[in-house]
């Protein structure tokens, strides 16, 4: 038994190492793509910074100062080397270190992704399961599928604007812009002040949630469709399994069958879409943060592209892909750990 386990662990380790070796060239490839795409840009960052009236001399000085007159390959090598150290250079516009900028924005995006995941699962899982369990009830199944289709078809930026019109402008219940005082929350947790001033901390948390509610609802609802569809089809599959028939034969009530036996088995296949889900959610943040004028990586990326701020845009896209690639790696490894057959393949 012990020996079997040791062999299994070794296989898993081999799988993890193999998977890591695939991830590294992939990251390198995506980073190269980002670099070269950004550097064949037709716009000139110095022109964007100094304006149309800038003299040739000023433009040359600026180009030299930013290191943009170096050969492309030298810039490329430098970018890769610095990125390895999580150093993405300085923003061209305000000379602020890109890494610091990203670290400031990252919590806003992560909180949004997390909150919208909660919304997506909260809406998607029950509707998907209900639609499968009640598939003989056309009204319920149809309503659940229509909700899923609407979520799939409704662009997040439009749904966001509708929410803003109704809840912020008409009823004035939620703020129109901003991301709340997340930095205070993070700082208070970091410094331990949360225990000294619990009142202030709660106020800051409330402020963050107040700003988060509409963006999370907008993004979460559009993502719920994916969860709902997978939950529905998995549930339909699970309900046809032998163990469900056995549970029915034992005389269990339908409720017990659904919650005790089917639900757990639906959750595992749902894990497989985590990679896809995170990719969708991260993309969604670009549009959601723009609509709600909310700070975050996505908004930063759009602003950087508009301003032709290479290092900032490069850094943002690199971090985006790093997150997605890492999540996929973790999901694969977890999967191999749970299901030994994967590692043996």
């Amino acid at each position: 038994m012990q020996q079997w386990r040791a062999v299994g662990d070794e296989r898993l380790l081999q799988y993890v190492v193999r998977r890591l070796f695939v991830t590294i060239p992939m990251l390198l490839g995506t980073m190269s793509l980002v670099f070269f795409a950004m550097h064949v840009l037709p716009g000139d960052p110095c022109m964007a910074m100094l304006g149309d009236q800038a003299t040739g001399q000023a433009l040359n000085d600026c180009t030299h100062q930013l290191g943009l007159d170096r050969p492309l390959l030298v810039q490329y090598g430098d970018y890769l080397w610095q990125s390895l150290h999580f150093n993405f250079g300085y923003s061209l516009l305000n000379r602020y270190p890109v890494t610091t900028y990203i670290l400031q924005m990252l919590p806003y995006t992560l909180v949004l992704v997390l909150a919208s995941t909660v919304v997506a699962i909260g809406i998607g899982l029950p509707t998907g399961m209900l639609s499968a369990v009640q598939r003989r009830n056309p009204l319920i199944d149809y309503t659940a599928r229509v909700i899923a289709l609407l979520g799939l078809s409704m662009p997040v930026f439009w749904f966001g604007i509708l929410l803003l019109i109704v809840f912020s402008l008409h009823w004035d219940l939620f703020p129109l812009i901003g991301g709340g005082d997340l930095s205070t929350v993070v700082e208070m947790i970091g410094s331990g002040e949360v225990f000294v001033y619990p009142g202030d901390f709660l106020a800051a948390v409330f402020d963050v949630l107040h700003h988060l509610a509409l963006p999370a609802l907008a993004l979460g609802f559009t993502l719920a469709a994916t969860v709902s569809r997978v939950a529905r089809s998995t549930m339909l599959e699970v309900l046809n399994q032998d163990y469900i028939r056995t549970a029915r034969a034992k005389g269990l009530r339908e409720r017990a069958i659904v919650y005790k036996h089917a639900l757990r088995n639906v959750m595992i296949p749902l894990l497989t879409i985590i990679g896809l889900f995170v990719a969708l959610a991260m993309t969604g943040t670009v549009l959601t943060e723009t609509v709600f004028t909310r700070p975050g990586l996505g908004k930063m990326l759009v602003d950087a592209i508009e301003a032709r701020d290479y290092p900032l845009a490069q850094g943002a896209i690199t971090v985006f892909t790093m997150i997605i690639v890492t999540v996929n790696l973790i999901v694969d490894v977890l999967y191999a750990a749970f299901d030994p057959r994967v590692a043996y393949k």
Binding site: G29, L149, I305
Partner: protein, 288 residues
């Protein structure tokens, strides 16, 4: 008993909630969109770019001059949405064609030939798949600059890895069939087998998925235009109408409401169509 349960489940799954209504709705909406796009010059009551200082930000209403109201330059919103249909449909269809044209041959080649070709193509695909569609399109369109052609290219390239993956897996399954072995035994070249045997046997699944990707392409186009990276104004596209209307959401919500509705209906139409086609042509994909 088991088969009966399964049969009932599947038939309900496909028919009760499905029925003919979704496909009818999808087809109607798509036909309507095509008619509107083709007949835009006739159907649009005004020139979509014609400005009028008299009618700035007028609200919608059946009695007035402008059924859906006007924007900040006094341009007729209905006419702009009608002309915007052209952009959305063009981008949706042509970019999927680009993605299909680039992705399917590469995927079929990777799946059928195997070896180094497969490794090279699939590793490149994995790399591109690390970028979500919008992000990849965003990157490409930023590099190329915003215009209709660049947007189509960007979305087409961003969709390519999805077609490569699908074609690759379909080729892998198809090539194990006996008739492929027979074709090989008869001396058929790889190219001939791919063109005459593998491709025709994968086309139905590929077409179903292509329909679903038209929805993705239209949504991505709207997203890019919304971010100001799509078709350049004054050419109307649903995304840039919505984006321009954003600053007036307080007093003139019709600008964002109607343009967003157009995007949603178009995406919904292709999603419905794709779903229905999938159920009819390829039950294996049902629920995915």
């Amino acid at each position: 008993m088991q088969s009966q349960t399964q049969y009932t489940g599947n038939s309900r799954d496909g028919c009760v909630a499905g029925g003919n209504m979704p496909i009818a709705l999808g087809v109607t909406l798509i036909v309507l969109m095509c008619v509107v796009a083709i007949m835009a010059p006739v159907l649009a009551p005004f020139n979509p770019s014609a400005q009028s200082s008299e009618y700035v930000l007028k609200g919608p209403g059946p009695g007035g001059h402008h059924l859906l109201g006007t924007d900040e330059y006094g341009r007729d919103l209905l006419s702009r949405i009608i002309w915007g249909t052209r952009v959305s449909l063009q981008v949706g269809l042509v970019s999927v064609l680009v993605g299909f044209g680039l992705g399917v041959p590469s995927g079929l080649m990777a799946g059928f030939l195997g070896g180094t070709t497969e490794t090279a193509i699939m590793r490149l695909t994995d790399m591109l798949m690390a970028f979500p569609t919008l992000l990849l399109a965003l990157l490409i369109v930023t590099a190329l600059g915003g215009s209709l052609v660049n947007e189509i290219l960007a979305i087409g390239v961003a969709l390519t890895p999805h077609f490569v993956r699908l074609a690759h897996s379909l080729a892998l399954t198809t090539k194990t069939h006996d008739y492929i072995m027979a074709a090989r035994a008869l001396g058929g070249s790889s190219l001939r087998i791919m063109l005459r045997h593998i491709f025709p046997n994968t086309i139905s699944t590929l077409l179903v998925v292509a329909t679903l990707y038209i929805a993705t392409a239209i949504r991505t186009e709207a997203g890019l235009s919304f971010l100001g990276l799509g078709v350049l104004p004054p050419t109307p596209s649903w995304g840039n109408i919505l984006s321009e209307g954003r600053q007036y959401i307080k007093d003139c919500p019709w600008l964002t409401t109607f343009s967003g509705l157009a995007i949603m209906l178009a995406v919904l139409a292709f999603n419905l169509m794709g779903d229905a086609l999938r159920d009819v042509l390829d039950p294996r994909l049902r629920g995915e």
